[in-house]
């Protein structure tokens, strides 16, 4: 099963490497990873998507908690949440009908066209992983030249928060 872990860490050199090192040495594959500053100064939040059975994910969470630079680990998958990722897709689009089709598809997916050139378009799409993958799949027939994704970020619905204080 897919788990989205929200990991609050000290904003220090080497933290990301401590966290990802733990995953690789314990035999875990990271599906996606997103890192950035958060609401608390001096802390960063890492959102990690992993696939694994509940027991293995629980073990990796416990191991993460042992890292001194990790302040808090939560599994968002246990709760109602909002998850999003952003993708930029550079797709081949010669002048003519295919260009129009791509623009229609973009509209259906509420993707934005953020760059136009004579031979290609860049689409920006935001959504859950499934939506992004569906769009990329549809665009393949036109020729996807480049596909860049941010990795998932997630947040709990309602007023509940994931904050410091282990």
């Amino acid at each position: 099963m897919k788990h989205t872990l929200s990991v609050l860490v000290e904003d220090r050199a080497g933290v990301l490497s401590r966290v990802t090192g733990l995953f690789s040495r314990r035999g875990f594959n990271i599906e996606s990873l997103a890192v950035g500053p958060c609401e608390e100064p001096g802390m960063s939040r890492i959102t990690i998507v992993v696939v694994g059975d509940d027991e293995k994910v629980e073990q990796i969470m416990k191991q993460l908690n042992k890292l001194i630079d990790v302040i808090k680990v939560s599994d968002l998958s246990d709760n109602e949440r909002v998850e999003r990722e952003l993708a930029l897709i550079k797709v081949t689009a010669e002048m003519g009908t295919s260009r129009l089709e791509i623009m229609q598809i973009a509209e259906i997916f509420r993707a934005q066209i953020v760059d136009v050139s004579p031979k290609s378009l860049i689409l920006q799409v935001i959504g859950e992983t499934e939506k992004i993958e569906a769009l990329e799949k549809l665009l393949r027939q036109y020729g996807v030249k480049e596909f860049v994704r941010t990795g998932t970020v997630g947040i709990l619905r309602g007023s509940k928060i994931v904050s410091g204080g282990k």
């Binding site: 401590r18 090192g21 001194i68 282990k166």
Partner: protein, 557 residues
């Protein structure tokens, strides 16, 4: 104004450090210059690996944080095996390494290695100090992290300019505050009560105690819990000594080379009380058949150990000593398990450990003679392999912290330098290093250290001219194909003599006791080269992956 080096040395002393094991080099010159007229004692080893092991041996024997020091690059890399050894056995050490100046970091400078990167998976935490201003705080945090919670090694990497820069020192707060580190010491009361309920209804309970009991200084509480509840105790390799070896409830070691009665007891038990242990594969054998009929209570300070290898019924996260003390205070009545104790007594009688008596020189006999001579009043350190298992089986440990061995990592070459470290923690008792002829040659250069400071380690070499444990596996599981396990004879006494150390070669059983006595009478290091039966095996033995009651080399059941 103070230099970083001075701040470092003063910070170490503030943490109560009395001794450092180390080896100098280019980028630690400023630190060594500061040590030159400091009251902090420094022992010059012959290889940095030995510095880490000596700090570890000191920590295990004393219960305090051990400290080692090495230069950058090769010096730091040579500490790695020692740090990994300490990490696997949860031993508190602080490893200090020099680093190239901050302006050269990442430049592939001379003797540069990314030691914080290298040691990330084998330290509890590590630091690269980039500003002299941080040094005092980092040392304070390092000792705190190393010695609290589940202990472990912490490394501090100090670039040369951080040591040489002078700053106006700012006082370091007394209390360490780290928002990402807050170990749980007190066990949950409801969980403790639940455990006591299980204990009250159990008919065949067994306590399975490990290194955590030693680390939390809880053997007093453990023995009281066992005695008041009438529960037999088996210990892991790391737990030996947490209950006296001759205590009527003691079952000795369990697992791969455990006693038959300990393994039988685990297999038939209906309640396993696991205390400060981690269900290692060398203990459990096949996990599915480990304690198959038992409910499990697991007490450990590290929540990640609970449920890691085996599902448990009552987890209790907390310091072993605190949890056992709480248990004792909640105890309503004492326990008796007459039929169970009777059964165990029967097993103990009919399945004792074997010590061959055929007039030839057997290692088990040597260990038993050592035991007779010191009667538990010694620190016994071992190397890794057959020597380690024979000592674990046949020496009767009576006190915690008197048995020092590399359990988790299984580091050959650990014993001798660890024994050197232990002598500084326990100058009041004899310190032995039980070695094989393979292991001793992995850090034999430390004879130089032992000779230089007249460190009274008694090296007991069980010399069979083989890498014995590997040979044993080749004999049993590889059709006696002794692939690269035979070692040519070495005259260890001559090597010792070359370093200025005395020694005796022993070839027959009647010479064992006089030789041990001669070693004890010598006030410095001493080498005993025992030429033992070459193809002696460690029995009983649970083959890898088998259930622990399926032992070979035991008694017919």
């Amino acid at each position: 104004m103070k230099t970083g080096a001075k701040i470092l040395v003063e910070s170490l002393q503030r943490e109560g450090t009395e001794i450092i094991f180390g080896y100098p080099g280019g980028v630690v010159l400023p630190i060594y210059d500061e040590l030159y007229d400091s009251s902090l004692r420094h022992i010059l080893v012959r290889h940095e690996q030995a510095a880490a092991h000596a700090a570890d041996g000191y920590a295990r024997a004393s219960g305090r944080v051990g400290v080692c020091l090495a230069t950058s690059g090769p010096g730091a890399c040579n500490l790695v095996t020692g740090i990994a050894t300490a990490y696997m056995d949860s031993i508190p050490i602080v490893a200090l390494t020099g680093q190239v100046p901050t302006n050269l970091l990442g430049n592939d400078a001379f003797q540069e290695s990314d030691i914080t990167g290298i040691t990330m998976p084998i330290t509890k935490h590590n630091y690269l100090v980039k500003k002299t201003e941080d040094l005092g705080r980092v040392v304070k945090e390092a000792f705190y992290v190393a010695g609290t919670g589940r202990p472990g090694p912490v490394l501090i990497d100090i670039p040369k300019d951080v040591s040489t820069t002078s700053i106006k020192e700012t006082p370091v707060p007394d209390k360490v505050v780290m928002r990402g580190y807050n170990p749980t010491y007190t066990g949950h009361k409801r969980q403790i009560e639940k455990a006591l309920q299980l204990i009250a209804t159990a008919e065949r309970p067994v306590i399975y105690a490990g290194g955590g009991v030693v680390l939390s200084n809880a053997s007093g509480e453990l023995v009281r819990v066992a005695t008041e509840l009438g529960i037999p105790v088996t210990t892991t390799l790391m737990g030996l000594g947490c209950i006296p070896g001759d205590h009527p409830l003691n079952l000795g070691m369990l697992g791969m080379h455990g006693t038959e009665y300990a393994n039988f007891a685990i297999t038939e038990s209906d309640l396993l009380i696991a205390i400060g242990v981690r269900f290692d594969d060398r203990v459990t054998g096949k996990t599915e058949t480990f304690a198959p009929h038992a409910k499990i209570i697991h007490i450990d300070i590290d929540p990640a150990e609970i449920g890691k290898n085996k599902r448990v019924d009552v987890p209790i996260v907390g310091d072993v000593r605190s949890v056992l003390a709480d248990m004792l205070s909640l105890l309503k009545k004492n326990g008796v398990h007459e039929a169970w104790i009777r059964k165990i007594k029967h097993w103990k009688q009919h399945h004792p450990l074997k010590c061959p008596d055929d007039g030839r020189l057997h290692p088990q006999y040597i260990i038993r003679q050592m035991n007779e001579l010191v009667d538990g009043n010694a620190v016994v350190v071992s190397e890794v392999g057959q020597n380690q298992m024979w000592t674990a089986q046949h020496f009767c440990f009576k006190h915690p912290r008197t048995w020092i061995t590399s359990g988790g990592l299984g580091t050959m070459g650990y014993g001798f330098p660890a024994a050197i470290g232990a002598t500084f923690a326990r100058p009041d008792v004899p310190v032995f290093d039980v070695a094989g002829d393979g292991s001793i040659q992995m850090n034999i250069q430390e004879m130089g250290t032992a000779a230089q400071y007249n460190i009274p380690v008694k090296i007991v070499i069980l010399n069979n001219m083989f890498l014995g444990m590997v040979r044993q596996w080749q004999e049993l599981f590889y059709d006696r194909r002794y692939s690269y396990t035979e070692l040519p004879p070495v005259e260890f006494v001559k090597i010792a003599n070359a370093y200025g150390i005395e020694g005796i070669k022993v070839e027959s059983p009647e010479d064992v006791m006089p030789a041990l006595k001669a070693a004890m009478d010598c006030n410095g290091p001493f080498v005993l080269d025992f030429r033992i039966e070459r193809e002696e095996n460690v029995f009983p033995m649970v083959p890898a992956g088998a259930a622990i009651n399926e032992m070979i080399g035991g008694h017919p059941r």
